[in-house]
């Protein structure tokens, strides 16, 4: 279990992390979201003991993370780095050896992982001859092949196409099933929502959201309606309690000031009987992200 309590690190007036707390149990995934510079990488570095916090503490299974724990860590830094002149096998074997896994075991496991991530090429291919996407996959393999129990992934989905993103999602979920505590950052809310058990959003180092995706969405109330009905754009715009109307395709997307207004919208829309669509939900995480980021820009 990873427990972060009151973590604070200041670099300057607007950088760093302020009073950050969260817990990741075994077999749990936490998504860390926030704009660039919000404090995600700083958080990861403090967890890894690469940076000393000004206040607060990080414990892994009840103790401070020390070099003795390094073998149980899998870390994918935001900026990818591989030795371009090495072959895939040399690279993965070296990184795994630094995590305490013998070359023999790594060599045995590697073909399976290459298949899992659909890496194009042979284990004897040089890193520099691989496409960027394949290099990224090799980096992910190097991060995960030693079966770590604490996995920290900084923007693991960036640069992956949807097919490869799905492969990564599957692997992350597999590691979760194996009992790993996983923390990852992402800009893609869809990934975060699909994979995360909990999520935490940082804005200028401050925690603005913390909880399960469902809890967080519900904090914002069922203030979004998707509607297909005889009601026209003008009518919807004039509706009391509706703050915004947008037409996308043949459906209207309504933003409500209060979720109670949904009842009147439903009644008006169904006044003449059947309608194909009425759906009232909390805002999507993507939207919440924009709302929270927007709050900073005001």
């Amino acid at each position: 279990m990873l427990k972060v309590t009151g973590l604070t690190k200041k670099f300057g007036p607007k950088r760093g992390v302020i009073d950050e707390s969260f817990t990741i149990e075994e077999g749990q995934i936490m998504g860390l979201i926030g704009q660039n510079g919000a404090g995600k990488t700083t958080t990861f570095r403090m967890i890894l003991n690469l940076l000393q916090p000004d206040h607060g503490s990080v414990t892994w299974n009840g103790h401070h993370l020390s070099p003795a724990d390094y073998n149980t860590v899998g870390f994918l830094p935001e900026e990818r780095g591989l030795y371009t002149r090495m072959t895939i096998q040399e690279q993965v074997v070296y990184f795994a050896a630094l995590r305490g896994q013998s070359a023999k075991v790594t060599k045995q496991k590697l073909p399976e992982w290459m298949e899992k991530f659909a890496v194009k090429g042979k284990v004897t291919d040089k890193i520099k001859d691989l496409s960027k996407g394949n290099q990224q996959k090799v980096q992910l393999i190097a991060t995960l092949i030693h079966n770590p129990k604490l996995i920290i992934l900084d923007e693991p989905f960036s640069g992956l196409d949807p097919v490869n993103a799905q492969l990564l999602e599957d692997s992350i979920l597999e590691m979760k099933t194996n009992g790993a505590s996983i923390i990852f950052s992402s800009h893609d809310m869809a990934n975060v929502e699909r994979v995360s058990d909990t999520l935490l959003m940082l804005r200028n180092g401050e925690t603005v959201l913390n909880g399960t995706p469902q809890q967080i969405r519900e904090q914002f109330g069922n203030t979004r309606i998707r509607l297909r009905s005889p009601l026209t754009f003008e009518v919807l715009q004039q509706f009391p309690g509706v703050t915004d109307v947008e037409k996308r395709g043949n459906a209207y997307y309504l933003t409500l000031a209060d979720e109670a207004a949904g009842v009147q919208v439903f009644e008006a829309a169904t006044a003449q009987g059947y309608i194909p669509e009425f759906s009232q939900e909390p805002p999507s995480l993507d939207e919440i992200f924009r709302i929270e980021v927007g709050a900073d820009h005001e």
Binding site: L50, L51, P67, Y70, G81, A97, L98, R99
Partner: protein
Amino acid sequence: MSKFNVIVRQVIRKNLKSPAYIFSLLLPVILIAAVALFAFINKQTNQTPKMAIVSDNPALRTALVAAPTHGDYKVDKKIVDHKTAEKKLAHEKLDGYLTVTTQNNEFKAVYRQRTNANSLDTDTLKNNFSTLKIQQTAQQLGLKPEQLKQLFAPATYQTQNVAYRNGVVHKQKSNQQGANIAIAVAVTFLMYMFLIQYASLIAQETATEKGSHIMEILVSSVSPTTQFFGKITGMFCLIILQVVVALIAAGLGINYLHQNVSFIKGFSLDQIQPGMIGLLVSFFIVGIMLYTVMAAMLGALVTRQEQVGQALSPLTTLGLVAYVVSFIAMNSNSLLIRIGSFVPFLSQSLMPVRYAVGNASTLEAWLAVAVELATLIVLAFIAVRVYRNHVLDYSHKRWFSKKEKA
């Protein structure tokens, strides 16, 4: 396998796969092979000249033909007359022929050679001819063989070389000082090349790992201290390998070449003082390590790989200065050079030369090694601190002021 060993092995393996390192490792072998090849080709193309001897004095001719040639020429004994000799010469069956006349007691020899012939070292032939002339003249004068021997017994002449080390006469064989200086100059040159090479090797590697953010993975796997000493130890092993290869190449090379190449003739391994080899090897290892550790530290300070050259230039300049000044040290023992030969970063180039020319005592030489070694140890601990604090620091300022306990 411990992580320390993983890093050491990685450094060694990576470099053994790099063509640049292999080339530098084999450089002494290549140099010696080149000289050996040159000597071999020279020997092959320059064959022993073949000649004929014709004379109006058959007894003299027979004696001359029978005289020892020391491998300098071969005589075709069948050719006895001028006409045949000329014909064979024209058909390139001979390189030349000697015509000896003894009319009126005047001994005269003319060697006629083709311009494109194998050249003749005339010393032996001239000697033989002179000896025969003397013998014949002595016979005519009625001198006894003992008298002849007495007449030609040479006066003795001898040269003695002495060198003073530590204030007392230091016994050395005739070529010893020359050999010492030659080897000191050669080693100083190799050392300069290698210290620049190793310094840039490790600085590049550190800066590349930092610049490409591989460092973040490394320091989250292994403590920076283990990593730093692992790298330095790996480099140390490579240096040792380099020394061993150079020593073997030099040993085999000198043993083989001193029989075949004129300028190494009379230069053999036992002319080099054993103390000199130990000193050179010590300076070689400690000197290069000192530069390597310094370079690793500088490599950790830069943010991008492109800045390495700039960060290293003061260090490489220092190495160059030490190397250049070592030439001055060969002929000068000024105070500045005496002091310089004890200063770390300079001593590895200056002291071996001073020691070789006899300007420094054994004690002084080893003292300089000790000073450099002590500096190396202190520097290593400073360097590991700097390395630890800066490998993840991508800011462009505060190079030395940042005190972050990582």
